[in-house]
Subunit: 82 residues, 6 copies
């Protein structure tokens, strides 16, 4: 099941934006290793290795920067900044 | 105990912003390894490895960039920049 | 088959922007190791190593930041921000 | 001795800003490994490993980006840019 | 043969900007290891290691962010954004 | 010989800005390992390791982003952007 096509970086909330960042990080893995079967084989090992988890969290963090900037940090609804 | 939903990136102080960055880094690990049990098993090892700690600090630093930008670096209260 | 010359960072959609980020990440490898033959030899190993895949996804994430910023996060079509 | 609470990202000079970046990098380690005793045990090893030192310098660099941006790169005192 | 002095970050096209990013990444290696002889000895090994190639591509990606921003993402010639 | 105090991020040229980025990367190592003697012992090994050199180049790249932004990418002298 490939990721659906990426139509927009805009989300309603930071929570949804974080979920999009996770999806983008996975998409980066999928384009490099398209076989879902192979990815599934790798998963049990790396998901039980702390350094692998930190590295995965790092990639998510980079994408979250992008998504957060795209959404103007979800500040539009905050009167404080207007 | 999952992280509560992420509603906003705005915080009152840099200290709270840093705490949010830590939470985001952990959230990135949790989505990759949802089992709290497994994460607890990994913790004693990586938290006593200097390179693992530096890597964790790195992810926090990336998220802190995002949170700090979202809060306009908490400069709104600083007359100097107005 | 070298990558074609890079003429623009602008794309119609985030999906195309992500594909460009992937291409840029590959281009960075190609300039360092121009031999397609050698790169092909390396591929089966690293594409079955979870940490290598995460590292590849990381580079894509950095380029996606650039491409997304270049495209103003594809926000031009969003009336909300105008 | 925990780091004192982080009240502001503003500093008078780049030198002080760099010191703050170092403090933030250490803070990221401290939240992950709160025991000062354990951190002290780790220090002699990683501080004599070149790759560990480079990794530590990397985290400082990321925080220095944040602190420098927060201070508008300390340009306010530079007539050139006004 | 040292890199020629860096006079500007501006380039005519993204393609030239990418080439500049590659040059900057090499320059960072050269200042750390000025001996061209030693660098040549290292090259055959790391250029046949997939993780080393990904790491090199990563550094290029970071510099490409800088060069692309310096050139305003080469958008000046795009009527769309004016 | 410690680095002299950091007074400004502004430089006349990109070349000088790159030199400052190198200095900042070294400064990050020095604050973590203040002993020049120990750093000298480590140098021969890491400066002959390709991955260590790439990692050092990476840190320089991050600082160069900061320095380049601080100097508005040295664009002030470019009539094109005015």
């Amino acid at each position: 099941m490939p990721n659906s096509s990426l139509q927009t970086l805009l989300t309603q909330t930071p929570e949804e934006g974080f979920a999009l960042a996770v999806k983008l990080a996975q998409k980066g893995v999928e384009v490099t290793q398209p076989s879902e079967e192979i990815r599934k084989v790798l998963r049990p090992t790396y998901s039980r290795n702390a350094d692998s988890l930190t590295a995965a969290s790092h990639v998510i963090a980079v994408h979250f920067q992008t998504v957060a900037a795209a959404n103007n940090y979800w500040r539009a609804w905050m009167p404080y900044y207007q």
